[in-house]
Each structure stands twice: as C-alpha cells, then as structure tokens.
C-alpha cells in the first residue's frame, strides 16, 4: 500500500494511507463517536452489526465504516438522519431479541440514540436455557448478540481449536457445538479466549456466574473444585 488518499469526513479533510477503513480514517479526523458492536481490534471484521454505518455520497446504501475502505475524494457523513434511523432501529430490534442487561456499552448506545426499549411489542425474544456443562465457563445464549467473536477466536483468529460454530440460520442462528455436545466432549481446550472477547456476558467465567447467583466464595471454590474432578459434567443444569 503505497499511496495516500485524501477524503472528507463530516467536512473535515483527512489524508490516510490507501486501504485504511473509514472508521480509522474518522478517528484520525478526530471523530471518535462512531458506534461499533461487532468490531474488535484483534478479530476479523465481518461487518455484522451495521451500527458503524455511515453515509457516503454516491453510494446507494449506507456503508459499514469498520470494513469500508477510503477512496480519493470520498465525501463521508457519519451522523445523518438516515444513519441515526438505522442505528436506532438496529438497537431497538437487538434489544427486543436479546437480554442486554450485561452489555453496558450497548446500553449507552441506546441512551445516546434515544432507542425506545419498548419499541417492539409482541416481539419474540431469542431465549435459550443457560448451559452449565463445564467447570470453566457458563454459556447463556439468551445474551448472545451473534458478534461471531467467540467462533473466530476459537478458529483462525487465535486458537485453531474449532470447538464451536453455528446452528440454525436467520433469526434462529445460535452459537453451537457439534450436535449440541457439552463442551467437555468437544475439541475445546478451555483457553478462555472466547470468554475474554464476549461483549455481553453470554460467556462468563463459572466462578463469576456462581457469585452472581448468590453463592458465597467458599461455596464457589468448593463447587468448581469438585466439578473439575468429575469426569462427565451434567449437560443442562440451568437452575
């Protein structure tokens, strides 16, 4: 990437190396309030959440800034009514589907974009039982926003373990193991990278989860220790 590219973002002129994303170019122009949900500095960007969309003059649709690249003479607007409408509606739809109580960043976006938390009456949520099937972490996919980070760090983005993938499609998509096997029966090596990148508390360290359930520190130590000794864990404790 040899050449530099000059473009205008919200009337500010910036010059960045060719191949830079609009998100990074905007940051360089001092615009650091483009909201992102699925984007992570150390994961492959797939342009999933579309929260980062911006208006590019001449483009039929909005452009996701986390993956959209700069080009010379581009005129970009990061906060127009069109952009706000999409961002607000995405937040309202997401909130109607997923338990976002453990996702403080998304909560802040909802306030900033005046998203109505009751906007979609009668909307079917994505509800799943809590999966407590190993001594290291608990999976609560009712809180999963399908950002794909866990799948990616488990695969080519970090670990090359390939323990998890997807089941279903569309609204019914879920992070899943081979034939829904409990984690101990998968290739999972319990590296914990998925837990570390999960932005919504869908993946949580077992001890933290037990504490939140009201267990005392001693009880937690007891439980996780004895569980680790056991070979086969239960599949769906939940309670």
């Amino acid at each position: 990437m040899s050449d530099d590219v000059t473009l205008t973002i919200d009337d500010i002129q910036v010059t960045v190396p060719a191949g830079t994303t609009l998100l990074k170019a905007a940051e360089q122009a001092g615009i650091d309030n483009i909201p992102t949900i699925c984007y992570h500095d150390y994961c492959t960007s797939n342009g999933l959440c579309r929260m980062c969309v911006v208006e590019v003059e001449g483009s039929r649709t909005l452009v996701p800034s986390c993956v959209g690249k700069v080009s010379a003479g581009m005129k970009v607007h990061t906060r127009t009514p069109r952009v706000e409408r999409s961002r607000r509606t995405i937040l309202e739809m997401l909130n109607s589907a997923v338990d976002l109580s453990d996702a403080p960043e998304i909560q802040e976006f909802m306030t900033e974009y005046a998203a109505d938390r009751e906007r979609l009456p009668g909307a079917r949520p994505r509800e799943h039982p809590v999966l407590d099937d190993n001594p290291m972490y608990v999976r609560d996919y009712s809180k999963c926003i399908l950002c794909w980070r866990c799948v990616q760090v488990c695969a080519e983005d970090a670990q090359y373990t390939y323990a998890i993938n997807f089941s279903g499609r569309g609204f019914q998509t879920q992070i899943d193991t081979f034939f829904q096997k409990p984690m101990l029966e998968t290739t999972c090596v319990f590296c914990g990278q998925c837990v570390a990148v999960c932005p919504t508390g869908a993946l949580k360290p077992k001890r933290q989860w037990l504490l939140e359930q009201g267990a005392s520190i001693d009880e937690v130590m007891d439980m996780t220790r004895s569980e680790r000794r056991r070979k086969k864990p239960r599949i769906e404790a939940g309670e």
Binding site: R50, R85, T89, L94, R124, N165, G170, F171
Partner: protein, 573 residues
C-alpha cells in the same frame, strides 16, 4: 439405537476425500442418500475424511434446509405455498394430503411426511408439489386414492411469446438432444468464438448491450473483461442456476428443455475470460434439471465441445455440476461461492467483487442461466443484429415468468419493451374467469406491486425503473380482485424470515420483526405505531443490510404501504 454400518459411507467417501472441504456438500448429499439423514457418526466420519472440523460440519448441515440431522420418513412431500401456488389452493392441497396420506389421519404409522416448501419454480403449474424430488403440477384436480408419486400432472414447460430465440428448442416436453441442438445450428457460435481473440468476443458482448438476467442487471461484457484482466490463476466461470426467487421458473425450463444452449454460452464465456474450469450451481430442489444437465455435459464432452483441445483449438475447458441443498441465499453470488467451498452460505462483503476475488478467491465470471443463453445468439447474429431486438437501452429478448390469476400462465419470450398489458392480456389471455385485475407482483418476493394504472408501462429496464418497478428476474405474478393481498404479504415476509442467512443484524432481526408485524397486518390486528415500526424496519433493512436479500426484503411491503395505505389500519391502541 442399533450400530450404524459405516462401510457403505466409507466407500463413497473415497471419491470426495481428495477434494477436501469443497467436497463437503456433495459428500453430505451422498451420505444422506444412503442413510436418509445425517446422524452424528455419519457427520463425524464425513468431517474426519474431508478434514473439516466437526463443529463446522454441523454448522453446514444445519444451514441447508435439505440436510436432516434427525431421521425422516422415506417419502417427504413438499407442497409449495408461495404466492402463485397459495392462490391456486396450496393450503387445501396441504390439508388434503395430510389427511389422506399422513399418520395423523389414519392412526397407522405412515411412510409419508407432508411439508410446506418455498416456491418450487413450478408456478405455471400451480398448485405444485414435489414427491421425493419428482415434480408434480395442478395437484388439486385429482388426488383421491392415487399413488402419491402420480398425483396431479407431470409438469412440462408451457412456452409462448412473440419471439423464440432463447426458447426455440423448448416446448418438446423433453430435453433437446445434442444432435437436435447441433442440427438447429447449435455450437456454430462456439466454433466461431474459438476462431476469435478472447478480447474480440468480449468487445462483441459489450457492443450487444447484454446485461445480466439474474436480477442485478450488470453489463455482462464488462464483467467478463474484469475477470479476464484480473491477475490470478486459475480463473473460473460459474453458471448460476440456483433459481429460487418465488415466481421464477425460466432457468428450470431452459435447463430441462435446452441444456446444450446453456453449455455453449458457458464455454464461450470461459474462453473469453481465460478460464479452464467451470461450475454449474443448481438449486437442490431441481433434481430433474440436475440430471438433464449432467447428461448434457457428458454428451458435450463426448462430442468434443468440453474437455481437452476443444474442436482442435488447443483450448481446454471442463465443467462440474454442483447441487445446492436448500438455501435461497446461495443464489447470491458470494454465498454461492461459499457453498461450493463447503461452507455455510454467508454472503461475503463486497468489494472485493467476484471478477477479482470470486470462487476460491480467484477471478470469476458468474452469470445467470438466461444470460448465458443470450451469448450464442449474440455471436451468431452479431451485436448489431442482436440490438435490433428490444429497445435501444434494453436490447435483446427477455423471458417473463407469468403466473397467478391469468388464463395462460407460462414462460413468455418477448423483446424488451412490450407493454405489461400485452403480456398479461394478449399473450396471457387476461385475468382468469373474467375477474378484474387487482395487482401484479413484479420481480418476485424481492419485487414491488403494480396495478391497473401501470398496464401501459413498457417492460424495459428504463421504463420499469421510471415507473418504480423492478424487473428482477422477470417474474410477473397476477392477483385478481378477490385475493387478499395481506395474506400475500405475510407469505413474502415469512419467506424472507426463513431465508435470511442471519449474518448481519438488520436482516437477521428485521426479517423476523417484519414477519411479526405483517402477521398483525394480515389478521387486522395492527397496533398503534405499527406503520412507523414497519417503515423503520423496512428502511433499516434496505439501507444497512449486507447483501441484496436484506436490501430487498422489505421492497414488496413498502410498495404495498404506498399503494394501499388502507390495508394498514392501526385498529388496536
């Protein structure tokens, strides 16, 4: 559970193993043909043999509607219930079959399961169904006591129109043979092409003004030029025969009745872009077309039109058929590549485009079946003569799939630019049983509605665009005055909710929410604020979705809201 015998699986897997991951979907098809479904040990064996992580094998199985991970009965009947079949009585067919053939009615265990299916591409024979891959049409006219495989009629192409360039060999009630195709002048264009420089062919196609018939209307010559000039080897050509847009059946008819024309177009495309390998990607439900295309390829290979040193030119080209497995999204070109590579059909981000980063990340020219059928015609007539068909800005012949409440549903070949009225009234015989026209759905599920006042709009890209109507893949579904369009909208909304791949949020969430609100529209139970909700969701899907599915998922609903606001009354507080 008795131990599964994996011996037959192991022997067939030997064939797919060298392919690795791209062998996954073909291997799963083959495995399911043995066991009837894909139980865990079978899926695991396939994954291990092909070197695909098990979680990803599972992800693929669960993405495609035609793969089952639970046992199914031997005979699955798929009853189409998308608009054309729905208005022809699909629901009563479904009920009749469930009553007559399934276990719920008789109490005895039955070998038959009846399922609802998205458009089977048999709209001109509505109501239609498929029994173990066998197509049957007009199934409401009989049923009683028949063998399930013999219910209704065998559907043959119904071909008509003002011209017959693309459909010249169709209407025989069988596939045109290689000999017949050659006798009618077939493969002369390939001979001519092989004597030309690739760049000269591309120039001719550019001069013809041919644009893609798969829905996106991209100039074909420009696409070929892009792939030809892109760095990277090998290059690929792909024929997109995944036809699944509700209301579309043109590509099925072309494959079933004149397969060699498609091959000739594809070989010329390959030569023009410098590809030596091609893939014909066929919708999973189109088993008949798949067999016919397979035979056609074998015959063309034997006759020296495909293979090494084609017609002594020194040019080599071979082609593989790929059978998809039940996912509308795989018609989207990049999702199609993912499927061929053995993955879930998630569309990729564009740019980069297929011409530079296509199949296996290599330069690829992908074209629709009908687009490719225009290619031999362009070379035989010459671009100038070809342009005399159609209008100045939309040259060439066009196939329209006419279905719904018309006297004569069928596949109509016409020059671009005829008025809608001519198609529906002069050619199609007008509205059935003398009723009045209520609406025309243009472009399929991803399309928009037209009414009486649009009848004189000429069907060309430029005129339709001016009238706000998408040409799409050439779907024209007609609804008479008695039809409840809200029920039609509900079906379309359900279609998108079922077919969204789930990758990007606007469509993953929006198609579901649109479906829920449309349910309230259809049952006259709209809540205060539903119109605003529906249009926010519609705009967000259109404006912010990753691919064309989400970007058009609200198109029909939005056009209905504009034309018939009275259908969207918020009757509940």
């Amino acid at each position: 559970m008795p131990e599964l015998d994996l011996t037959p699986l192991r022997s067939i897997l030997a064939e797919y193993a060298p392919k690795g991951r791209p062998g996954l979907i073909p291997a799963l098809h083959a495995a399911q043909a043995i066991y009837g479904y894909l139980p865990q040990p079978v899926a695991a064996e396939v994954g291990r043999t092909l070197g695909v992580p098990l979680a990803e094998v599972y992800g693929v199985i669960d993405f495609y509607a035609m793969f089952y991970r639970e046992p199914v009965v031997k005979t699955v009947v798929h009853v189409c219930d998308d608009p054309a079949c729905a208005i022809a009585g699909a629901e009563s067919v479904y009920n009749m079959l469930t009553y007559e053939y399934s276990q719920e009615a008789s109490g005895a265990p039955s070998a038959i399961t009846v399922e609802r299916a998205p458009c089977l591409g048999l709209c001109e024979h509505a109501p239609a169904l498929m029994v173990k891959g066998i197509q049957r049409g007009k199934v409401n006219h009989n049923g009683n006591g028949h063998l399930i495989e013999e219910i209704g009629e065998k559907p043959y192409g119904i071909i008509a129109g003002d011209i017959s360039y693309l459909t010249a060999n169709c209407g025989k009630r069988r596939a045109t043979s290689l000999e017949e195709y050659v006798a009618s002048g077939g493969y002369q264009s390939l001979k001519k092409a092989l004597g030309m420089a690739p760049a000269a062919i591309i120039a001719e196609v550019k001069a013809s003004g041919l644009v893609g018939r798969g829905g996106a209307a991209f100039p074909t010559g420009l696409k070929w030029e892009g792939a030809a000039n892109a760095p990277g080897e090998p290059k690929y050509v792909v024929c997109n025969a995944d036809e699944a847009e509700p209301g579309t059946f043109k590509d099925r008819v072309l494959m079933e009745e004149d397969p060699q024309r498609i091959l000739e177009g594809l070989i010329i495309a390959a030569y023009a872009v410098g590809a030596h390998q091609g893939v014909i990607f066929i919708r999973g439900e189109y088993t008949n077309a798949f067999q016919i295309m397979g035979k056609a390829v074998a015959q063309a290979r034997q006759a020296g039109f495909i293979g090494k040193n084609i017609l002594g030119s020194g040019y080599d080209f071979d082609v593989e058929l790929f059978r998809s497995a039940g996912a509308y999204i795989c018609g989207e070109e990049t999702a199609l590549f993912e499927a061929v590579e053995g993955k879930r059909g998630f569309p990729r981000m564009k740019p980069p485009f297929p011409t530079t980063n296509g199949l296996f990340n290599k330069p690829t020219a992908i074209n629709n079946v009908e687009t490719l059928c225009n290619v031999p015609l362009i070379l035989s007539l010459g671009a100038a003569e070809y342009r005399k068909i159609g209008t100045e800005k939309s040259p060439g012949p066009k196939l329209f799939c006419l279905s719904g409440d018309v006297e004569r549903p069928g596949l109509y070949e016409v020059p671009f630019g005829i008025p809608i009225r001519h198609l529906i009234y002069d050619l199609g015989g007008g509205i059935r049983t003398g009723r009045k026209l209520q609406a025309i759905l243009f472009g399929g599920a991803a399309g928009a509605f037209a009414t009486e006042k649009d009848l004189d709009v000429r069907m060309s890209f430029e005129d339709l665009r001016a009238a706000g109507l998408p040409l799409g893949s050439g779907v024209v579904t007609v609804f008479d005055e008695t039809r409840d369009l809200r029920a039609v909208l509900l079906r379309l909304a359900r279609f998108f909710a079922e077919e969204s791949c789930g990758k990007c949020y606007p469509c993953q969430l929006g198609t579901q929410r649109q479906y829920e609100i449309t349910q309230r529209v259809a049952s006259s139970e709209m809540l205060a604020g539903d119109n605003a909700r529906l249009s926010d969701i519609a705009w967000t899907m259109t404006d912010a979705s990753l691919c064309g599915l989400g970007q058009t998922a609200a198109s029909a609903v939005m056009s209905a809201m504009k034309i018939w606001p009275e259908m969207f009354v918020e009757s509940h507080p």
